[in-house]
């Protein structure tokens, strides 16, 4: 999997960092989780920009690599001798993925604190933030689209693997919410940028936090171990958490609306939204035959929202699910405001209905309820219990939301359309990646559209 590992580093790659071969990057890039076109061979790789961050041994080189028109950020460490641990991150020869090197990553904190500029890269603390340096760095594991490093128990630095020029939604929305005094986001502390491209974003680290997905699935596990008890009766009942989560999401929406404004759009904008749902459905229907039996009812459900005279749009999270929320010791926090990963940048920044976030979260509760049953022989008892859990916690989430902002269920047709649109997307995703799981969104579509 990693060609660099097999080579004797000293034989083929004698000294200079610049000798990092394009061939090595070509082999290494597709194996990275954050690589966009996973599993596809790369035809064209070029190092489009290269600068030195740290000289010496170990040294740190900052690269922008263009692979088949996608730009990737790669931090390359170079050492005369790779430790056993870093050998696993070798790119080729003496070069390796520097995000796995706690020594080099730890020194980045000094650059932020000093406000240094290295080879055109501007390392800056946020105004009013005095960073504590000398903290031990540790890379954190599995991530889909970026790489992150935690400093002590204090900061987390996210390095965008596919940085794009122009405004960075993640940074901008975090700043806006922090200015509004939001308790539902982690405070921004520093950024590193190249001209108008944000390369990395550091925030306060939420040490004792656990992902919403992990807390929700712990509750489901507790429920399914009982079988004879209803969701409201088991000790692991999640409704209280779900309600608090709903309130937190509503508070973020209210803060974003207050700071960045809202807009009333008319029936034509609603129609555009509905047309796009139909368009996405067309594409998925072509790939997934199981969806065809639901086509008519799906289209009817989309069109049910068409009659609306308009809707309110604003900045929202854009990709909200239980993996994007953290339970901390003081409540729920939302992370990663980059927006929908699949959408083009211009679409990500467009104001949208807050109901999209609500729909994303409702779908996520459904997934949490059913994930243990994916791939199992259908068992009516377990399915019934799981559905109870989903209903109970979806309702609790909406209750919590309604206590802070408007009740999302008041706009049932639109919320239903968003939820089904999301489910259609999930059908396509699961069909491609996890066929055993395709039953989860299909069951939801069947239930929401009232199909047998």
């Amino acid at each position: 999997m990693n060609p660099g590992q097999s080579a004797n580093p000293h034989a083929e790659w004698p000294s200079a960092l610049d000798e990092l071969a394009v061939a090595d990057l070509r082999a290494w890039l597709p194996a990275q989780r954050w690589f966009a076109a996973k599993g596809q061979a790369i035809t064209d790789v070029r190092v489009t920009r290269s600068s030195t961050v740290f000289d010496g041994d170990p040294g740190l080189r900052h690269l922008l690599v263009t692979a088949d028109d996608e730009v990737y950020q790669v931090l390359v460490g170079v050492r005369d001798e790779l430790t056993e641990h870093l050998a696993h991150s070798a790119i080729g020869g003496r070069n390796y993925d520097a995000t796995q090197d706690h020594e080099l990553m730890s020194r980045l904190l000094d650059l932020f604190a000093e406000g240094a500029t290295t080879g055109g890269l501007a390392w800056r603390a946020e105004p009013g933030i005095r960073l504590t340096t000398g903290l031990r760095a540790r890379p954190i594991g599995v991530e889909q689209s970026n790489s992150s490093v935690v400093y002590g128990d204090r900061y987390i630095l996210k390095l965008y693997r596919r940085p794009t020029p122009g405004p960075n939604r993640d940074v901008d929305l975090h700043r806006a919410l922090a200015r509004a005094g939001s308790a539902q986001v982690a405070e921004p502390v520093a950024t590193v940028a190249l001209d108008d491209t944000v390369l990395g974003f550091a925030q306060r680290f939420l040490g004792g936090a656990a992902e919403g997905w992990a807390t929700a699935t712990a509750s489901v596990r507790d429920l399914l171990a009982e079988e004879d008890l209803h969701a409201r009766e088991v000790g692991g009942d999640y409704a209280g958490e779900a309600a608090r989560l709903g309130a937190a999401v509503a508070q973020v929406h209210a803060d974003l609306a207050a700071v960045l404004g809202t807009e009333e759009v008319g029936a034509d904008a609603v129609a555009v939204e509905i047309d796009q749902m139909h368009g996405r459905l067309d594409a998925v229907l072509a790939d997934v035959p199981e969806l065809r039996e639901h086509e008519e009812r799906l289209r009817a459900a989309f069109d049910a929202a068409r009659g609306l005279p308009g809707m309110t749009v604003q900045q929202i999270h854009g990709d909200l699910h239980l993996g994007q929320v953290l339970r901390t010791t003081s409540g729920w926090v939302l992370i990663d405001f980059e927006g929908e990963p699949a959408a083009p940048p211009e679409d990500r920044v467009r104001p949208k209905s807050a109901l999209r976030d609500v729909a994303g979260m409702l779908r996520s509760f459904d997934y949490a309820a059913l994930h243990l049953l994916a791939g199992e022989e259908p068992d009516h008892q377990r399915l019934t219990r799981a559905a109870e859990w989903a209903d109970r916690n979806r309702a609790a989430f909406c209750e919590g939301y309604a206590g802070v902002a408007g009740d999302p269920r008041a706009e049932g047709a639109l919320l239903r359309a968003f939820e089904l649109d999301k489910a259609v997307y999930e059908v396509a995703y699961e069909h491609r990646n996890r066929p055993d799981w395709v039953a989860i969104p299909l069951a939801a579509i069947r239930r929401v559209t009232g199909g047998g």
Partner: protein, 601 residues
């Protein structure tokens, strides 16, 4: 002795004829004579150690319930003294005795009718001195409850006060012509009381009481009351007691326009109490009972700048129900949250923490939602509820699940604070919810499978409360004797854990830092005191769980499991992976590899 009409003699209600007591005589100027410490034997001192309470393990024992030496069906001080060898073997550092003073027993002895006499069925002041002496001989300390706020209405002070408004005791209590003062003070026992004022037909005035109407509040505005109460402290401290749990401390003073709780002058008086201890009896402790949020309770430690100048200890009330919630929810957050909200305390202060005690499992420090949850989970029968709480013992609360009992005890012994065990929980005793009030958890200690559980030689019908006799928790099945003979028993396990705790100062004196992890069902934390670094990892779920801990700060160190001494793989740069069985826990000491050890394998 001044001749008095016996029905109005100030000591008439005491029932202490023939025993030294307050009000045996009245001086010419109207003062009651009171027993003096010099009249009694003084116990030898406990070994000197000014910070002993910070790492001590406390054991709450009801004198009535532990051991009956004279066969009258009620436990007594001599009986308790006879069981000190057992408590020493178990590894207890300090006994906490709920009140054993003379009392009409209308509030479990918290209605004290003479601060300077012992309830006759428990013994005498000299019996208490003997208990203290024997305890100190074994390195065990003893503290008891003292109610500063009020007395029983049978106390000779109150009898004098109501009969002689102009006498020396006339202002010992809070009297008023009307019942409308201090209207902002809440009524605590809403089930039984409708007002904080009660009319006394003898004096023709209302008297103030924050608790029951038979417990008039002392008037701390009166300097004589302050002096009298300080002398009560001195009386027992002279005999040799190691400290007091001060009951109901927030209520000593009243002030119009306030809720009459936590007033500055109340703190001033506590500072006076502390000064008496520090100046005259160093090494003794004051423990505040204030059932409030930790952020408010810290006030009772006093000035942090000088290490604290009020109480040495205070109970941490909200932690306990949250341990139950966390395990039932399989989520660390109920515990993490309350610890994150707990402010730091002065250098000389310590929390007291507990799982169960003689009261109900109080649910005052939880939200309504959480209270409903606790009732639904832990009080499935309405008889299990009492006031705002649940009246059950630890073992039945946990469905007698040994794994959970061990997990709960491990949490109690390793979270920040000095643990307070409740008598009988070390053997997993049960409760009897068919007994009235909170008696469910106050049944006789189960020593053996013999008659009356070995607690008393009396006729079983004469016992103050029946022994537990059900097939699961009954004394034939659950008793000290059989568990002493079985090294895998809960009793032996508890003893072993107490030994381990004693060996590591980090548990009592160490800093507490929670170690987050991605698994919400695992609660992990670091306790650090100098070189002593202990990691505690607790699986709150009934299912096995993995957890990755970020310990790279301790790169190269070796975790050594504390109960068995097994060396675990060295900590490296990567997250440290552990797997835990359902409701399992680990305690590790983190040791620096010495030369020649710990190189990479």
């Amino acid at each position: 002795m001044t001749v008095q009409d016996t029905s109005t003699a100030p000591d008439a209600a005491l029932g202490l004829a023939g025993i030294p007591h307050t009000g045996e005589a009245v001086t010419a100027d109207g003062h009651l004579t009171e027993p003096q410490a010099g009249d009694f034997h003084h116990a030898r001192s406990a070994p000197p150690d000014p910070r002993w309470y910070k790492s001590a393990v406390f054991y709450e024992v009801l004198v009535r319930a532990f051991n009956d030496s004279d066969g009258n069906g009620t436990g007594d001080l001599r009986g308790l003294a006879d069981k000190l060898d057992y408590l020493q073997w178990l590894g207890i550092d300090c006994l906490w005795l709920p009140p054993f003073y003379a009392s009409p027993l209308r509030d479990g002895g918290y209605d004290i009718s003479d601060f300077r006499a012992v309830l006759p069925e428990f013994g005498t002041v000299d019996d208490f001195g003997y208990l203290l002496d024997q305890a100190h001989k074994r390195g065990i300390r003893v503290i008891t409850d003292l109610v500063l706020n009020h007395t029983s209405d049978a106390h000779p002070w109150f009898q004098e006060s109501r009969q002689h408004p102009d006498g020396p005791y006339g202002d010992y209590y809070v009297w008023s012509d009307t019942d409308d003062r201090y209207a902002d003070a809440r009524i605590i026992f809403v089930d039984t009381e409708t007002s904080n004022w009660t009319y006394d037909p003898v004096r023709g005035q209302f008297y103030w009481h924050r608790f029951f109407s038979h417990q008039p509040d002392l008037n701390y505005e009166n300097p004589d009351v302050q002096e009298a109460m300080l002398d009560v402290l001195r009386f027992w401290l002279d005999i040799g007691i190691d400290g007091f749990r001060l009951d109901a401390v927030p209520y000593l003073f009243e002030e119009e326009g306030t809720n009459c709780e936590n007033l500055p002058r109340t703190h001033e008086f506590l500072k006076r109490c502390r000064k008496v201890v520090d100046d005259e009896y160093p090494g003794r402790v004051l423990l505040a009972e204030a059932n409030q949020w930790p952020a408010d309770v810290v006030e009772y430690f006093g000035d942090a700048g000088i290490g604290g100048d009020e109480c040495h200890m205070a109970f941490h009330f909200p932690l306990m129900p949250r341990i139950f919630m966390a395990v039932r929810r399989e989520s660390r957050f109920p515990i993490s949250e309350i610890l994150a909200q707990t402010p730091s305390i002065p250098a000389g202060a310590q929390w007291g923490i507990f799982l169960r005690n003689h009261d109900e499992l109080t649910l005052e420090m939880v939200t309504d939602e959480e209270r409903d949850y606790m009732y639904a989970e832990y009080a499935k029968d309405p008889r299990m509820k009492a006031n705002i709480g649940i009246r059950r013992r630890l073992a039945p609360l946990l469905d007698n699940d040994r794994n959970q009992q061990e997990l709960f005890t491990a949490l109690l012994l390793s979270l920040p604070g000095s643990p307070v065990l409740y008598y009988g929980d070390e053997i997993g005793m049960g409760d009897n919810i068919w007994l009235g009030d909170r008696d469910a958890v106050r049944t006789p200690m189960q020593w053996s499978p013999d008659r009356n559980a070995g607690f008393s030689r009396c006729d079983p019908g004469r016992l103050y409360l029946p022994t537990i006799a059900d097939p699961v928790y009954g004394f034939q099945a659950v008793n000290v004797e059989s568990q002493m003979n079985n090294t895998s028993s809960l009793l032996h396990w508890t003893r072993r854990m107490l030994q381990v705790r004693t060996e590591h100062p980090a548990f009592g004196l160490g800093d507490f830092v929670e170690l987050g992890s991605s698994n919400p069902s695992v609660l992990a934390y670091l306790r650090t005191h100098g070189d002593d670094v202990v990691i505690c990892v607790n699986n709150l779920s009934r299912f096995p769980q993995p957890v990755e801990l970020h310990l790279s700060e301790h790169d190269g160190c070796v975790p050594v499991e504390l109960t068995g001494g097994v060396r675990f793989p060295a900590i490296g740069e990567l997250p440290y992976l552990l797997t835990l069985p359902g409701h399992g826990f680990y305690w590790f000491q983190i040791t620096r590899p010495t030369t020649g050890e710990g190189e990479s394998q």
